[in-house]
């Protein structure tokens, strides 16, 4: 899978490496900004109040 992505990237190894880093950062950004904030309330780690639910 990652080998396939690597082969799809244009340019020589350096350009590929650079693009890969940018892609990784983009994925991390999307995870931190959108995916994790969405997933967190669904997981039972951070309920601090007492309630009737």
């Amino acid at each position: 899978m990652y080998g396939w992505i690597w082969r799809q990237l244009p340019g020589n190894a350096w350009v590929k490496a650079l693009i890969s880093i940018v892609l990784v950062l983009a994925v991390v950004y999307v995870l931190f900004q959108y995916v994790f904030p969405w997933a967190e309330p669904l997981l039972p780690f951070n309920d601090v109040t007492v309630d009737n639910q």
Binding site: L31, N46, V48, T49, V50, D51
Partner: protein, 250 residues
Amino acid sequence: MAATADETEEHTAVPESGPTPQNRGRGRIALAVSVFGELLITAGLVLGLFVVYSLWWTNVVADRAAHKEGDKVRDGWAAGQDTGPGALDTRDGIGFLHVPSMRNGEVLVEKGTSTKVLNDGVAGYYVDPVKATLPTSGKAGNFALAAHRDGHGAKFHNIDKVREGDPIVFETKDKWYVYKVYAILPETSKYNVKVLGSVPRESGKKKAGHYITLTTCTPVYTSRYRYVVWGELVRVDAVDGKRTPPKELS
């Protein structure tokens, strides 16, 4: 172009003798296994990132938000806005909580205990299921608060360091409300809303009084139970011109 072709050969692990039908089948299985393995590695990395997110990044974001809000409240006080009884602006913070034994400085207190409020790195006073009695109202009752144990500022992370007799100080524009911890419940059900009662009987009190209740989750990193700390109002000091803190905080 030649290099690309070489790599293709290398990665799909096709032997030099050239593809025979049998080899192709084996290559396909190898490919499937390697994709599956890479997916597992990816899942592991994402879970690791989630830990980083919840234990570090949410603190960064929450502390930033809390500082901004706290500065706004302090600026408002300094500007001398009328936040006296009745004119209390509950949209912003109502004051700061100081618990020296938690060693985390001041914690802004805002209205409500929804995720949205608490994720800003503040302590929230309950409006549901039990409405907390604000100390500024002067009425007898329970000032019940909640804050995160981990992540999102983790304002009550060190709640287990609080001992009986420790001070809890709530700071408003013109009063210091000094409470003293008198009871601790290290573990209770999350459905136990009685701990928030205006007279928290589980703490051993029978009569109406001015109480404060801190709730958060326990054990650390989970939400299985709730940790409760109760305090009772000892005295109320007026804030002087220099905002000299009461002796409990110095």
